[in-house]
């Protein structure tokens, strides 16, 4: 039996189900379009940014606003500057808690020296569980700074320790490398003043690569310089601007980025804090909050706010990005699996019939369908028994739709708070919105497919990468080895091959139609 026969058998097996691909395609895109429409409606009505002023509240001691929790693992290079930046945020009353998660470098020493820390006695009877706290420090220089030194856990573990120590009503958890805009706290608080049932709120995360940054303050917004950086700019805009705004509109927001989220401490305590044994602790906590409130019939809301901006460094290296996406997919899978009872369960209202199905069938299983779709497609090409007209048209429609979605995100950006300043940026972004769909998208599908597969295999190791989320260890410059070079060129070759295949198909079409004759 030749390879062709095997391929033919595969095609014959899949063939009766090829309507699944079409249906999936329709379902996904219709969902996207609905989300976009509502995002645009929402964003359009938002020109009330400057009109919020609070005065009397500052005189009352009955409400204690916000604790910022910043976990740090081996951050000796940046920890002082990033903590200083947090302490410079504009707000009348907040505390910063830096949690040294058992760093093996000089993170703690740097903190102690710079902030003139002194030790206070350890607290006992902490409600949330985590690795033991070694000591707690206060600063002679900033009365609102606390540093917690604990044994190494993971980010979730460090955050739990921080939540225990926090003395304010709201907690804001960030990544070690998150850069917050200085006015961010006021904007976040607005959500909590507007509606007393807000239990969590997330802000927009944008890409710091390419921006001009001085001491952890973003001065000028700019585009990343590299291919991967720019592709991710488009991705982030799309995912935050209408992924999340759209879901916010439907009151079904399931994800608040670990890089920047605010929670009502009381509720986080009630649900038991962050989970230690998942790679996607940020999403898991949000889903658990939803679940807890729904199960206990508590009126609540979880919000996404497009105004508060947090900046984060994204990986511009293929393999680091690949591992990150692989991890995200596993985190997603893990969360959805843990809370699978919520799917199609009327107790959970629209979550059960809108958001959960979307995440399960589009975000989680999407790579599976796409992967088999692409495979099927290429096999039929190899076998030569394809209707070129149909294939080319379908593919191009799909690609154009993808582009439209991305360009729409770029359009949404018009309505946001801190924009890319130039017309040139918009044109570049639009171009990358186009490029993303040819090549990168397929590679991305492959990463997510691998992540999903790894999850199904039951592989729950974090890998070195996941200890502190996407931060220091991800950014560590790896040695330029031969194997890495090969791997990277593999990605670039894929990027080149896919447009080439498209070109071949168009040529095939022309030949079939008789436009070109040999």
């Amino acid at each position: 039996m030749s390879i062709t026969d095997v391929l033919q058998i595969i095609v014959n097996t899949i063939e009766p189900y090829n309507w699944v691909f079409i249906l999936y395609f329709l379902f996904v895109n219709i969902t996207y379009i609905i989300l976009i429409i509502f995002s645009l409606i929402y964003l359009k009505g938002k020109d009330d940014r400057d009109v919020f002023g609070l005065t009397g509240l500052f005189r009352s001691e009955l409400y204690a606003p916000i604790s910022i929790l910043a976990p740090a693992f081996n951050e000796e290079v940046n920890v002082v500057a990033s903590t200083e930046a947090l302490l410079q945020l504009e707000y009348h009353d907040f505390e910063v808690i830096v949690i040294n998660d058992g760093s093996s470098d000089n993170t703690l020493i740097k903190l102690v020296e710079h902030f003139e820390l002194y030790s206070i006695t350890n607290p006992v009877h902490l409600e949330l569980e985590h690795k033991p706290i070694r000591s707690v420090f206060k600063s002679h220089r900033y009365p609102n700074l606390t540093v917690v030194d604990k044994e190494n856990g993971r980010k979730a573990d460090a955050l739990n320790a921080g939540i225990n120590i926090a003395s304010k009503d709201l907690i804001c958890s960030i990544d070690a490398d998150s850069i917050l805009d200085t006015g961010v706290l006021k904007k976040l608080l607005k959500a909590f003043v507007e509606d007393e049932n807000v239990v969590a709120a997330g802000g927009i995360v944008r890409i710091a690569n390419g921006c001009e940054i001085e001491n952890y303050v973003v001065k000028d917004v700019g585009l990343p310089k590299t291919y991967l950086g720019r592709i991710q700019s488009v991705e982030y805009l799309r995912s935050f601007l209408f992924g999340r705004i759209g879901w916010d509109y439907f009151k079904s927001l399931l994800i608040i980025s670990g890089a920047f989220g605010v929670f009502d401490r009381k509720y986080v305590m009630k649900v038991g804090g962050y989970l230690h044994d998942t790679v996607g602790e940020d999403m898991e906590l949000v889903v658990r909050l939803h679940r807890y409130c729904r199960e206990n019939k508590i009126e609540y809301s979880i919000r996404f706010l497009p105004e508060p901006v947090c900046w984060t460094e994204v990986p511009e290296d293929w393999s680091v990005l690949g591992r990150q996406r692989n991890r995200w997919q596993r985190g997603l899978a893990d969360t959805l699996w843990r809370h699978r009872t919520m799917l199609f369960n009327p107790t959970f209202g629209r979550l059960a019939f809108l958001a959960m199905p979307y995440f399960v069938f589009v975000e989680l299983l999407g790579p599976l369908v796409e992967f088999f779709g692409f495979a099927y497609f290429f096999i039929t090409i190899i076998l030569g028994n394809i209707n070129y007209t149909f294939a080319v048209l379908f593919l191009f429609s799909a690609i154009i739709l993808g582009i439209i979605l991305s360009v729409l995100a770029v359009l949404c950006e018009e309505f946001t708070f801190r924009k890319y300043p130039n017309l040139k940026h918009i044109l570049i972004l639009s171009m990358y919105a186009f490029l993303e769909n040819i090549g990168f998208r397929q590679i991305h599908t492959w990463w997510r497919f691998k992540g999903l597969f790894k999850f199904i295999k039951g592989d729950k190791e974090w890998g070195v990468m996941s200890r502190v989320g996407l931060s220091a260890s991800d950014q560590v410059k790896q040695k330029l080895s031969m194997s890495k070079l090969l791997k990277n060129s593999g990605y670039w070759i894929t990027l080149a091959v896919i447009p080439f295949l498209l070109f071949l198909m168009v040529m095939g079409l022309f030949i079939q139609e008789g436009f070109i004759k040999f």
Binding site: G56, L57, P123, I400
Partner: protein, 371 residues
């Protein structure tokens, strides 16, 4: 399957959808370029306006220009007003003394007032919010403005409602202020922060209108249509604002047997407020409450008794130390918080002071009490 049904039909469909999508793409690109262009025009217009207004405002401060002369500079577009207003407010926030008063008068320009009055009677949320903000800032509220503000308290957007009440608080009449307050606190989902903010504005520290304020506060507290969580924050705020005249009244409410007043959130707030007022007559009642098996009332009771302080109350609290570590920690924290030193508390212990407590005590000394 699809391929087998009718290739021609699906091809036609695909052709048309592709053309449609391409068209859409072009449209979106044009729209986004247009928006971007419009934005840039706006930004440069704003910069030009700022350059124009800075010298005007400073010249006004030096008495080189009159209000009317400045007013003549406006051509009547909303954008001009918001740029001007923002600029004036930015400067006001940073200066004090005579200059501040003078700058404020810039906001009283007739054109600004009528622009905002028009906005206030419109439907645009942003316009409403800005107008409310303007009136609460300038305190320029006549009866027409007040009527509209009162309507807005029922607006479906809670932020608009809140801002409307906030603007009403600029009124000189306690009655108007109270009407706003009453209406908004009976709405659900109004946050503690919003209520506190409004109560602090309600409480006029400049004029002595305590009697009238108290009359209205009583009515609000009495009103059972106010959701319990709103009610409890009001009660606590009444104490924080120092309306001590209300203490006997609050104490009587403890004995109200209706379900509403037995709500543990409300009851807890009453107890804490009485404790912080130093209303000793309530002590026996509160002690009873502490002994009941209700965690939130226990907490409220402990805070109240530790605020009342006095040998008898503290002795009672220490007698409540039990197997329950969570309760013990809470009691010790509260007692320490009432100003007693560790030694004084140790002396109060009837039973020998165990090491377990001394560890607990050490840790407690580090962290302040929070409810």
């Amino acid at each position: 399957m699809l391929m087998q049904i009718d290739l021609d039909i699906s091809l036609t469909l695909l052709y048309s959808s592709m053309i449609f999508l391409l068209f859409l793409l072009a449209l979106i690109l044009i729209v986004s370029l247009y928006l971007r262009w419009r934005n840039q025009v706006r930004e440069s217009l704003k910069a030009a306006l700022l350059e124009k207004y800075y010298p005007l405002i400073f010249a006004f401060l030096e008495d080189e220009l009159t209000l009317n002369e400045i007013s003549d500079q406006f051509s009547g577009r909303g954008f001009e007003y918001s740029v001007f207003e923002k600029l004036v407010k930015d400067i006001i926030d940073e200066v004090s003394g005579d200059d501040k008063q003078k700058l404020r008068s810039l906001l009283f320009i007739d054109k600004l007032f009528s622009y905002h009055f028009k906005q206030l009677n419109g439907n645009r949320t942003a316009g409403l919010l800005k107008a409310c903000n303007y009136f609460s800032y300038t305190r320029l509220i006549n009866y027409k403005v007040i009527i509209r503000l009162k309507e807005l308290i029922s607006h479906k957007n809670r932020l608009v409602a809140y801002m409307a009440v906030s603007a009403l608080m600029a009124s000189k009449s306690v009655k108007n202020k109270a009407t706003g307050l009453k209406k908004i606190v009976s709405r659900k989902k109004i946050s503690d922060m919003a209520i506190l903010e409004l109560l602090y504005e309600f409480n006029n520290t400049e004029k002595n209108e305590k009697d009238e304020e108290i009359k209205h506060l009583k009515e609000i507290i009495e009103d059972e249509s106010v959701p319990p969580d709103n009610k409890s924050i009001i009660i606590l705020a009444v104490e924080e604002l120092g309306y001590y005249q209300l203490q006997t009244y609050l104490f009587k409410l403890l004995y109200n047997k209706s379900e509403y007043w037995q709500n543990s959130e409300i009851k807890g707030a009453l107890v804490v407020a009485l404790g912080k007022f130093g209303y000793n007559e309530a002590a026996p009642y509160i002690r009873q409450l502490v002994m009941q098996d209700n965690w939130s009332l226990f907490k409220a009771g402990v805070i109240a008794l530790s605020s009342l302080a006095g040998y008898e109350n503290l002795d009672f609290l220490l007698s409540q130390l039990s197997e329950d570590l969570q309760k013990n920690e809470f009691i010790l924290r509260a007692v320490l918080n009432s100003g007693y030193s560790q030694e004084e508390i140790e002396a109060l212990f009837v039973e020998p002071y165990s090491t377990e407590y001394s560890i607990l005590m050490d840790s407690i000394l580090q962290k302040p009490l929070s409810i």
